[in-house]
C-alpha cells in the first residue's frame, strides 16, 4: 500500500542518522507506478519540508541523494567526531592530513575540512607540522605519554566562544529546526530537553549552554528545571547549572514558536 505524504516527515525522522535516499522514499510513497504527478508531489513535499527547516537539503553521495531530518545525518560535528576517533586510535603513530582524509569515508568526507578545523580548534587534537606536511596527535594520548596532570584550572577543551568558529555559527536560528522537530515528536509540548537538543545538534554542551543562557537573558528562550520526575542521569548532566539555583535547568522553551 502506498503511504500518504503526511507520513513523509515522520519517516525521515525515524530514519535518523542513516537518512533515506530519494529512491527509497519514492518506493515508499509513490509505489511502483512511478506516475509523474506523484513523483512531482513527492518532490514538492520534500522541497516544502526543506523550506520549513524540518529536513536538510539533499546530500549527494555518489549518484544518490540522501534526505535527513534537521539535526540528523552527517555534519561538521559528525565528521569532527570521526576524525578525533581516528587520531585517538592511531595513538603516537601520527596520521598525516592526507592519510586522515583517506580514512574519513562515507558522507562525512564532504565535511572533512570543516570537521578537521573543528577538532583542532576545540583543542581535542593537536596539529603538528613537519616540512610542508601536517600530522595530528590526540591530546589524551599526549597527556598519557608525558604524564601531564589535568588541573582544576585547566581550560575546557573547547575554547571561548569569541575564538570558536563553530560556537559562533551556533545560533538560535540554526537551533530552531531541531527544536521544532523535537517539539513535534513529543506531541507539540514546548519544553524540549536540552539533552535532546544537544544530541540533535551533535555539538558541544558548552556551546549549547552558552547560546541558551545568552538567549534566555535576551528573553528569546526560557530555560527550566524539572523537579517532579526522576530524570535519567544523562539528561541531568546535560542541564545548565547556574549559581544560586540548586537544580539544573534541563528544558528549554522558545516562547514565540507556534
Amino acid at each position: 500500500m502506498v503511504s500518504k505524504l503526511d507520513e513523509l516527515l515522520p519517516t525521515i525522522i525515524d530514519a535518523g542518522d542513516t537518512g533515506l535516499s530519494f529512491g527509497k522514499l519514492s518506493a515508499k510513497f509513490i509505489g511502483k507506478s512511478k506516475a509523474k504527478d506523484r513523483t512531482a508531489a513527492l518532490r514538492e513535499q520534500l522541497a516544502a519540508l526543506i523550506r520549513d527547516g524540518a529536513i536538510r537539503a539533499p546530500l549527494k553521495h555518489g549518484a544518490t541523494q540522501y534526505y535527513f531530518a534537521t539535526g540528523r545525518g552527517p555534519s561538521v560535528d559528525t565528521a569532527s567526531e570521526a576524525i578525533v576517533g581516528l587520531v585517538f586510535r592511531s595513538g603516537i603513530k601520527l596520521l598525516s592530513k592526507a592519510g586522515l582524509e583517506k580514512k574519513v569515508i562515507g558522507m562525512n568526507r564532504r565535511f572533512f575540512a570543516d570537521g578537521l578545523k573543528h577538532a583542532t580548534s576545540s583543542g581535542t587534537i593537536l596539529e603538528l607540522s613537519c616540512g610542508s606536511s601536517k600530522y595530528y596527535l590526540h591530546r589524551e594520548v599526549a597527556t598519557d605519554y608525558f604524564g601531564f596532570e589535568p588541573t582544576a584550572s585547566e581550560p575546557p577543551r573547547t575554547k571561548p566562544a569569541d575564538s570558536h568558529p563553530v560556537a559562533r555559527s551556533l545560533t538560535l536560528e540554526n537551533l530552531l529546526p531541531a527544536y521544532r522537530r523535537l517539539k513535534a515528536e513529543q506531541g507539540g509540548f514546548s519544553a524540549v530537553k536540552i539533552y535532546d537538543l544537544m544530541q540533535a545538534m551533535n555539538g558541544s554542551k558548552e556551546d549549547l549552554h552558552r547560546l541558551l543562557v545568552e538567549e534566555a537573558k535576551a528573553g528569546r528562550v526560557t530555560i527550566h528545571p524539572t523537579t517532579s520526575v526522576d530524570l535519567p542521569k544523562e539528561v541531568v548532566d546535560a542541564g545548565i547549572r547556574l549559581p544560586g539555583f540548586a537544580e539544573p535547568f534541563v528544558t528549554v522553551v522558545v516562547p514565540d514558536e507556534p
Partner: protein
Amino acid sequence: MTSSSLDIQVNPFEDNVVREPREVSFSVSGLNDAPLRHLLTEFAALDAGELPRSSPVKAKKAQLVMSPDRGYGKSHLLGRLFASLGRRATKVYLRPFQDPYKAWHSILLLTVQELSRPEDETIDSRTQLSYLAVGTLAHIVADFAADGVQGYADVKHAVPFLRQLASATLSVADTPRWIAWLSGLYSESTRTNRLASLLNRRHIDLQGREKAWLKVFAACAFDDPHSDSRSAALKWLRAEPLEPEEAAALRLDQADNDGNTDSSPQEINALSFQRLQGLCQLASYYRPFVFCFDQTEFYGSDPALIKALGNCIEQFFADIPNHLTVVTANQDNWVTDILPHMAAPQQQRLSREIRLEGIVIDGARELITERLNACGASTNDIGRFFADDWLGQVFSSLPKLGVRTVLMRAEERFETLAHPSTAPAPRPTLDELFQLELNGIRSKKALQAYNQDCLMWFAKDVGQAINGVSVGRTSGRRYFSLAWNWPDRCVYFAFEGGDHWRRWKAIADEAIALAQGRGERRVLAYVFRTPDLTKVPRRSWAAAKASLDRATSQGLHIVGLTSDQVCELHAARELYSNALQGNIAYSGPETLTWLQKRFAAFLGDIAFAGLPVEIRRVEAGGPTAVEPAHDQQGAVDPTELDSRSLQLVLDLVREQRIVDISVVLNRLGSEMLRDPLLRSVEAHPNLRAHPGPRTIFLQWRISA
C-alpha cells in the same frame, strides 16, 4: 532588622503552594494573563447570549494548561479563573479519583459537594444548588407563560419577573413572593408533569427522568435546607438509592428511584454519569460548569487510572454539554507518565498546550511587596528587604523565574533579615510538612468532607507497607473493591458514603460471603465513615441490622473516623500529592515511605482488627497519643463560636495582629473550641488562619 516589623512569627513567603484555588486573593499584574485570557475566551462561548439556551452548548476540547516545572502557578491560574468567572460558572475543582471503575461517581460527588457550598461569602447565602434549581424551575415556567394560557390573559406579564428570578436579579422585596408562588406551582404533580414536557423545547433529554429532575430541583429550591426532602434530593443527585419514605417526600415514582440498592461499580458509575449529564444539560437554564482536573501527577502511577482519566476527558467532550474542562499538568509528568498510557483518540480531546510563564523582576517586586504589606511590614522595612539590589541579584542569571523559586528566595531573605544571628534553617522535615498540611486541612472545613478517593488511596498505597501484604483491586465484588492479602488472612475495604439500609444489607451480605468463601483464611472487612456522614446502622433498620450483626461477628467493621483522623488522612494525601508534583523537596516514594511509618500503628490495627482504631497523632518528636475511635462523646459541637466568644477572639487578634491559636484557645478557656474557632475564622472577613508546621497562627486582616 530584628527590632523591626519584620520580626514576626509567620514568614510571609513560607506559604508557596496553592492548596485550594479559592484561596487565591492576589495576582501579579500581567503574569500568566495570556493563559487566563485564553481560558476565559474558551468559556465565553458557553455563556454568550440570553438565558435560557435554545439548546445545550456542545463542549469544547479539554483545555490543557501545561507548566514547564512545578511552581509556575497551575492551581493559582485556576484560582484566578474561578475569581474571574465569579457567578458566571459553577466551578468544580477535581482532586484525583482513585477508583478507575467509579471515576464518574467521584466526579459527581465532588460536583454535588461544590453545588452544596454557598454561592458567596455573605451571611445566609443560599447554596449554588438552590440557585441552579430556582433558575431552572423559573425559566421553565416562564417558557410556559410565554406561550400564553387560555383564560389568563395577563400571564405573559409574569415572564420578565420569572426570568429575573431565574437569574437572581429580581429585587429582594419581590423575590420571596415569586418563590412562594413558584413553590406552590411545583407542589402539584400534574403541573410538574406538564412543565416537564417543556424541557424538550430546549433540546434537553433527561432520558425519561424529566419529571423526577423537576421534583428533585423543587426540593432543592423551596424546601428547608435541613429538611428530610432536601437531604433526599441530594442523595438522588448523588445517584444513591432512596428509602421509600424519602422517595415519597420527593413525590418520586418508583421507577425514578433508580439508584439500585445492590449495584455493581459499573452500574453506580453509569448512573453517576447520567446524573452529571443531567446537571450539565439543565445548566442551559442557569450557568455553565467548569471542571478542573488538577494534581494530575497522581494518576501517573496507575495505568488503569490514566485510562479512566482519558475516558472521562473523552466523554466530557462527547456527551456532556454546557461545560468547560480544564486539565493542568507539569509537562514532564504528562509526557513521561500519562500520555503513553492514554489512547490516541482520547489525546485528541485535549487542546494544544496552554503554556504558563515565569515571573519577571517587576512582577516579583510586586508580589513580595504585597506579601510584606499583608503581614504589616513598614515602608522602611520593605525598603530594607530590597536593599543592595537583592532582587536584581536573584534575577541576574535569568530574566524569568518560576514564581515558587522567587518565593523560596524571598523566604530565605526574610529569615536572614528577621533573624540575622540564627543559622539558616535546615530544610523542613517530612514531619513538619505533614503538620503543615494537617493544620491546613483543619483550617478549612470543606477539605474535611467525606472523600472516598482519599480513603481508597490510603488503603491502597499507604497499606502496601504492611509486612508481607499484597495489595490489589478485587474483581467481581460489588462493594469490597480493594484487598490486603496474606497467605493466611485477607482484609477487604468498601467505600460507601450512602445510608440506604438495602445497600448496607448488601454490603453486609458480601462481607459474610467473603468470610465464608475464604475457608481457613481469616477475613476482615472494613467500611470507613466520616463525621459528616449519617451514622449507620440506623436504629430503625431491622433486616439490615440482622445482616450487619451477622457480618460483624464474621469480621465486618464499620469504622467511624473522628474529625482529627479524617484531617490526618487527608493531610497524608495532600503531602503525597505535593511530593508527586515536586512541591516539596522530597520525592513521592520517599514521602510514601515516611507516611507508611507514620501510620504504621493505624495500619497494624486495621490489619489485625484492633479496635478502637487508633492513629498516631503527629506530635513532633513526641510520644504517640491515642484518639478515641468514635466521635467525641460530649465534645463541643464543631459549629462556629457564639457571639461573645467571637468578640473575645476579635479583640485579641486585632490587638496582637498575629497570634498563636493556642493563646486564643487559652483565652477562650478550652482546647475543645479549636474547631469552632477555626470555622469562625473561616467565616469572618477580618480573620485569617495561617497553618504552620507547629501551630496555626491567626492574623488580623483589614478587609475592604
